[in-house]
Symmetry: C2
DNA sequence: CTGTTAGCGCATTCAT
DNA sequence: ATGAATGCGCTAACAG
């Protein structure tokens, strides 16, 4: 590690025979500088390969040109897809994202958040997570904040999340368009609003298609794989025919797949299965995994753009997304 | 965005009735401070929720507590896996990685590198990429540098990369252990050293197992999918029997799978296929994709730890890795 | 248009 | 053990 000589703005000023202010001005373009001087400065900068010290710049400006990103698990397909979008969103802007990982532990998450704040990030993107809403709101008062994949009503348009109702609606509609009429639905735990919304979307799609919803085709699960398996057993026990299953998440779809396999029912030959995803854990469960990738990327990109807008008082983008379904007729290959 | 009052070290000093030097000392522990004063300072810090301004700290110390990571494509399974390892490696250290994306364009990559350098990162991890070796070496003189997934001899132990020979050796050995004796090999373009090394590993494994290598079982491919398909056609044309195929990368394994499928040859029932991966593009091709994940994570983690050692003059870790094969008997589900 | 001056917030001598 | 003084490199008034 050779100790390279660090050239400062004073060096430039001296060799260009101007004051450091002038150098600063040609650098930032904050004021007009006479052509000759300007050229001289530029020349010296080039010669000495001068790079302004970002620490000093930050100290005086108060800005770091960094954006904090609080994710929940680096390496998780869903969260990583959001990160992809975020990086794309910042593209050639002057801002660099700094990612901190909450690892799905509240304590870790809060530490990570504090780290980001201590680094004086100019903006913050929080992806999912479980920091209390209040803390989030408080943070949002200190620094431009966008929340992804989590709905915080008080944050209004500063949230990017998927519309569960619409997603389920589209999923069901897709199956209908494929010719299915008897579509079973395995719900998530109906104590959770996500599950309820998805159920409602399912019902609405049926109604809109003129299909009478049949309670016998609906089984409540709990978002876990095994509940998908049990749900199929239940459906079969009921004796009601069905040609397709819409599971409220991929884990349960996976479990449903297993139950059908055991019964010798072919997928998608005899029965089609459609799952959906917005839980990282379920993204893990089903390796083909791309169900949520595209919308996740889009959410990330939108979040990055939104941050940039907040930072520049630019026009605020529309953050309402609806999930693009990347349909999988079968959810898993190996049982 | 309420303008929060920023509390500085002076505020603490004043309210604790000590000098700012003392506050600085209790903060950094750079000198012993009398208990009572120490307690007072801590108390005030707590009360005011004081956070040292990292810009000022960096300006005076010259350190950013930031590590630059130059990757080639965020969103690529292989590169992302390395990033996972890097994040893990920095764990609870005081350092945060800042990731910049080269997007597989040399120009973009160089810009990204410069961005990182301009941010005055304390260390740099370069994953693959194509910046000229010379530039890399020069950079390595300015800042602690570790190169991952690329072999730069001049960098000596500051490179973390996979041993292609050993990887191929292990892959072949695995097949032998599964009982295969007639193992075909689809090589990469033999103009590339990676392909040659893998071929050599294949041959060595056979020899060590007392199996006479048969040239008729080796077909040269070019790392692309179609060459895998053609290679299988070629093998079948030759009429030589084989029970397993070791392809030098996943793309070709994928192509081989296709050829067998067309012929009605079951995988892995009739023939086993084993691929390997160290090209991001091929990681894309075969969605189950985890072939290289674990070793990639380990490389990333090692790189992070190495950087930390470089920064603290700690013991330098051993960076020699050999690829852990995560075996796939079949490479793709859909043809 | 341009030079001079005064901090930004902190760590670090240097005295005491 | 502690306070006062100095400067890190830069930007932004403030005169000219």
């Amino acid at each position: 590690m050779t100790e390279e000589v660090k050239v400062t703005i004073d060096d430039i000023a001296e060799r260009a025979r101007v004051s450091k202010s002038t150098v600063s001005r040609v650098l930032s373009g904050s004021a007009v500088v006479a052509q000759p001087k300007r050229a001289a400065v530029l020349k010296v900068i080039e010669e000495l390969d001068y790079r302004p010290n970002i620490f000093a710049q930050s100290l005086v400006s108060g800005r770091s040109f960094t954006i904090g990103v609080l994710t929940q698990n680096i390496g998780s397909p869903f969260y990583d897809a959001v990160l992809v979008g975020i990086h794309e969103g910042f593209g050639n802007s002057d801002y660099s994202p700094i990612v901190a990982d909450g690892r799905w532990h509240l304590a870790t998450e809060q530490t990570a958040l504090q780290t980001l704040l201590d680094r004086r990030v100019d903006g913050l993107i929080v992806i999912g997570g479980s920091v209390p809403k209040e803390k989030l709101l408080r943070t949002g008062e200190q620094v431009p904040l966008i929340v992804v994949a989590r709905h915080v009503p008080e944050l209004g348009s500063r949230c990017v999340y998927l519309d569960n109702f619409e997603a389920a609606y589209k999923a069901t509609k897709y199956l209908i368009e494929q010719g299915h009429r008897e579509i079973a639905h395995i719900t998530g735990a109906l104590s959770q609003s996500d599950a309820v919304r998805r159920h409602e979307g399912y019902l609405q799609a049926l109604s809109d298609a003129g299909i009478e919803p049949d309670p016998d085709l609906v089984v409540e699960g709990n978002f876990r794989r095994q509940s998908g398996t049990l749900a199929v057993e239940m459906l079969i026990t009921r004796g009601r025919m069905f040609s397709a299953i819409f599971a409220a998440n991929d884990q349960m779809a996976f479990g449903a797949r297993l139950a059908l396999y055991r019964r010798g029912i072919r997928v998608p030959g005899d029965v089609s299965i459609l799952g959906m995803d917005d839980e990282p854990a379920s993204a893990y469960m089903t390796p083909p995994l791309t169900t949520m990738r595209q919308p996740a990327i889009e959410m990330g990109e939108a979040a990055a753009q939104a941050i940039l807008c907040l930072l520049n008082d630019g026009p605020f983008p529309n953050l309402q997304f609806s999930m693009e379904l990347i349909v999988r007729e079968t959810v898993a290959r190996h049982i």
